[in-house]
């Protein structure tokens, strides 16, 4: 049974939310600082459809620890690895110092600390929107490392702001509600390191087997990448 807050949300009677780049406007304002939106996600649905009927997989979540994601992934019988990539990014480089992310020795040190896994460890990676905050040099190194630590025929799910005119996106925590539904908890904004389009993403993931896009109405580009 749905909690009252969700019922009102689905009836559309919740307090209106100022639609941001990722918001569908179908949500409630939780407080002055945080907005929560529930939306369908084709990318998420595809991600889990690929790992259907399997148990005991190793899934990496780069957005840190959230109760919903732990419950959902472990209830499917998988082992979850979590890594709070953005918090580590801020701790290492500072939140505003995107240029500082270009130093090769610091990039190697950062990846040593945060993606230090053996080759072919993971069957899936929930990247969420982390990559859009990485400088080009750090992003390329991160993608290369992800290629190494994922198994062939595994999948990555990544989100990118599709508004190519804006380098600002809401700072979002993604909470899995069901196989195809996400709750987006948005609190404040964050400066992206660069903008992305389909072509730049295809180039970024060129060493992977395939890249599939889902463009949503809310200026969110959901991307499924097959290793």
């Amino acid at each position: 049974m749905l909690p009252e807050r969700f019922k009102s949300m689905f009836r559309g009677s919740g307090t209106a939310v100022a639609p941001g780049p990722f918001s569908s406007g179908k949500g409630i304002r939780a407080s002055d600082k945080e907005t929560q939106v529930v939306r369908q996600s084709r990318g998420l649905e595809q991600f889990f459809s690929y790992i259907d009927d399997q148990v005991g997989l190793s899934i990496l979540d780069l957005a840190g620890l959230t109760q919903d994601n732990i419950d959902f992934v472990t209830d499917l019988g998988h082992k979850l690895y979590t890594q709070d990539f953005l918090r580590s990014l801020d701790d290492t480089f500072g939140r505003e110092d995107i240029n500082g992310q270009a130093a090769q020795n610091r990039i190697e040190s950062f990846l040593e600390q945060n993606l230090d896994f053996k080759e072919n460890t993971f069957d899936g990676v929930l990247v969420w929107d982390v990559m859009q905050y990485l400088s080009p040099a750090l992003l390329n190194a991160t993608v290369e490392r992800l290629h190494q630590i994922t198994r062939p025929r595994s999948y990555l799910l990544a989100f990118f702001n599709a508004d190519e005119k804006s380098l600002i996106s809401p700072h979002t925590t993604f909470r899995i509600q069901s196989r195809s539904t996400l709750m987006l908890s948005q609190h404040g904004q964050r400066q992206q390191a660069q903008v992305f389009n389909n072509r730049s993403l295809e180039k970024l993931f060129s060493q992977f087997e395939s890249v599939k896009f889902f463009l949503t109405r809310e200026h969110l580009r959901e991307v499924i990448i097959k290793r």
Binding site: A30, G64, K79, T173
Partner: protein, 160 residues
């Protein structure tokens, strides 16, 4: 709206007996407890409260493998954690290591780096029956000859 559970302090249940390691105490070695244990100091080594609850207070810093029935973390742990029943990671807690437990509860804001392996109680019992006295948690043995000390039901092997 919040998805977190508000923290109620203090953590110690007065109806149960429990031992406390205060925030000015540092122990290097192995701790075995047959009652609930509250750690607000520093521990390097291992902690085992197999049938009891272990609480790491806000000032607690563990560089230790941990095994307990239930683990509540408000401070910091660097090491693997095995909780037969559940682990509860609170808002400002910091845990770096691998977790093996039946249930996990976390508050937003907690920092965790590692893996989470949910072990159903039936599977855990079967594993325990097949390997008595064994644990999948890597419990490092501290180097050097230990000096054993005991306080109440807590036994600490303290390195010289």
């Amino acid at each position: 709206m919040s998805t977190t559970t508000p923290f109620k302090s203090p953590e110690i249940d007065s109806s149960r007996s429990s031992a406390t390691i205060g925030k000015a105490v540092k122990i290097i070695g192995q701790i075995f407890s047959k009652e609930d244990l509250y750690v607000d100091g520093d521990v390097e080594g291992t902690i085992e409260c197999q049938d009891n609850k272990l609480t790491i207070g806000p000032n607690g810093k563990l560089q230790a493998g941990v095994r307990a029935r239930e683990v509540v973390v408000l401070g910091q742990i660097k090491g693997n954690v095995e909780a037969n029943d559940r682990i509860d990671i609170r808002k400002d807690a910091r845990l770096v290591g691998d977790i093996k437990t039946a249930r996990i509860v976390i508050e937003d804001g907690a920092y965790f780096k590692g893996s989470i392996d949910i072990v159903k109680p039936d599977a855990a019992k079967a594993a325990a029956a097949s390997q008595p006295g064994q644990s999948s948690v890597n419990m490092p043995k501290p180097a050097g000859a230990p000096l054993t000390a005991s306080v109440g039901a807590v036994t600490a092997d303290i390195k010289r």
